[in-house]
């Protein structure tokens, strides 16, 4: 088998490649393409995503801020344009829509100036959709500093001076997550976090009222933005996770009877 493959396949990688990698890539590319085609070229309904529990907490937090008449702050974190930042901005679109509807102020501290125009257009769009373009306040999207601690101390200033009622931390955070969550909890704000850096998630779970776990950020952004491509990609990944779970289960059952057939098939070299 390997000899046949090594004719046109790279010899050193052919022996190492193994059938599993080729089958994996081709089948995954097919599944992704099918979902992408379904999302873009057809009007078929997209699969229904499980409602992530953190989304109810967002509505509750905005409601609480409206009753107290105090602002909400939405922080998109430490990385410039990345998958996590774009997913966070999709969630911010929903939050901006709700705060515009209830006439509650939304303050967005920014760390990277290239993200500022995307945030401004997202919030303005939300105000227009709600039919209140005049209530849009561009200077509530504030570029503070690209330096980590300059940005963090700027955010702390906003939490304390503006006496925010709710703080939302979405995107990708590094060590400033802990400082922002502590300041928010001392200020008595209701806090919701949804970020992908696994090293920061434990601290946010301990300090925030509700925390989305890792990939739930992408699901929340797809669920809220109703973006067909994002939903399609999640469906493709889920399909493949199920296939891998199936392979693991079959493998375990086979190994219970003493056969390592599945592991050998997956052996790459």
């Amino acid at each position: 088998m390997s000899a046949m493959l090594s004719g046109w396949l790279k010899t050193d990688s052919a022996s190492r490649l193994g059938l599993a990698t080729i089958i994996f890539f081709i089948s995954y590319a097919v599944v992704v393409s099918i979902q992408y085609y379904r999302a873009t070229a057809t009007t078929l309904p997209m699969p229904k995503l499980r409602r992530v529990a953190g989304l109810d907490a967002i509505d509750e937090a905005i409601g609480r801020a409206t009753e107290m008449g105090r602002p909400v702050t939405f922080n998109t974190g430490a990385s410039a344009i990345s998958a996590a930042t774009l997913a966070a901005i999709a969630v911010m679109g929903y939050v901006a829509h709700q705060t515009a509807k209830f006439d509650t102020r939304l303050i967005v501290p920014m760390r990277f100036h290239e993200v500022v125009p995307i945030a401004l257009s997202t919030i303005q769009m939300a105000h227009i959709e709600v039919g209140k373009p005049e209530t849009f306040r561009p200077d509530d999207v504030r570029y503070l500093s690209s330096d980590q601690f300059g940005f963090t101390s700027g955010c702390i200033g906003i939490i304390q001076r503006e006496r925010v009622a709710a703080q939302m931390l979405f995107g990708n955070f590094v060590s400033e997550a802990l400082i922002l969550a502590e300041e928010g909890s001392i200020a008595g704000a209701m806090q919701i976090a949804g970020q992908v850096n696994v090293a920061q998630t434990p601290f946010l779970i301990a300090a925030c009222d509700y925390t989305l776990l890792q990939e739930e950020l992408y699901v929340a952004s797809a669920y809220l933005s109703k973006n067909r491509i994002r939903i399609g990609m999640i469906a493709a990944q889920d399909a493949f996770k199920l296939i891998l779970v199936g392979i693991i289960m079959v493998g375990i059952i086979a190994s219970a009877f003493g056969s390592s057939i599945v592991s050998d098939l997956l052996t790459l070299y």
Binding site: L17, T21, R50, A199, P202, A235, D238, L244, I248, L266
Partner: protein, 221 residues
């Protein structure tokens, strides 16, 4: 190139530890209150970090590239990637900022191609393969209970957590839905390990600073 006489540098040596200690105390002063001494140190840090990135990249990547690849080996075609890289500086210029997308497109495409080779698949498929562990472990000295329990816990956690992160279809229906809560507790336990390790890292870094102040600067021990 200007060379600095060793005598000058030798004279600065005792100043070395004092400068480091003042920098450390300046940063620690933020704990009391935001103050000008802290801001002075913070701006020094940001300025020297920016310069260090520039100097190191020039000294270790750009200069050797010109000396060896272009002058010595005659690879003058490298002018093309140099120009491609220089296009990034059009980013702040409004009218020509689209030019800065050319290098970005090139890097994103290259890394996409790089990721879609066997390099990404192999570690993931190896970890899937190593998640297949026998639930009943028979060793030379008979049935190994502890190893069997370990394997069962490990495989169950992998499967349950993978299923938890499936959102577009309901995998665990009806009574099995209680397993979703089990997998959420398992995730919380894993994040507890992350909390513990994160705390230890932060304490270690503080000990490093206190050790510098007490041992290197004050010489207490």
């Amino acid at each position: 190139m200007i060379t600095v006489p060793d005598s000058v540098v030798a004279a600065l040596q005792p100043l070395h530890v004092w400068l480091g200690a003042l920098a450390t105390l300046g940063m620690l002063s933020l704990l009391y209150r935001e103050n000008p001494f802290y801001r002075f140190c913070e701006y020094t840090y940001v300025g020297s970090a920016g310069a260090h990135t520039l100097v190191t990249t020039f000294a270790n990547t750009i200069k050797p590239g010109i000396q060896t690849q272009m002058i010595q080996n005659g690879q003058w075609w490298e002018i093309l990637p140099i120009c491609l890289g220089l296009l990034i500086y059009f980013q702040p210029v409004k009218r020509y900022s689209w030019l800065s997308r050319l290098p970005m497109g090139y890097w994103v495409g290259y890394n996409a191609g790089y990721a879609l080779t066997m390099r990404t698949a192999m570690p993931m498929l190896t970890e899937v393969r190593r998640s297949i562990l026998p639930p009943i472990v028979i060793t030379s000295s008979g049935f190994d209970l502890m190893a069997s329990i370990n394997n069962i816990v490990f495989c169950t956690t992998v499967v349950l957590v993978m299923v938890y992160f499936i959102f577009s279809r309901e995998v665990l229906k009806g009574r099995a839905a209680v397993l979703m809560n089990v997998s959420r507790v398992l995730i919380m336990m894993a994040l507890g390990v992350g909390f513990g390790n994160g705390a230890i890292t932060r304490v270690s870094l503080l000990i490093g600073r206190l050790d510098y102040l007490f041992a290197d600067w004050l010489g207490i021990y």
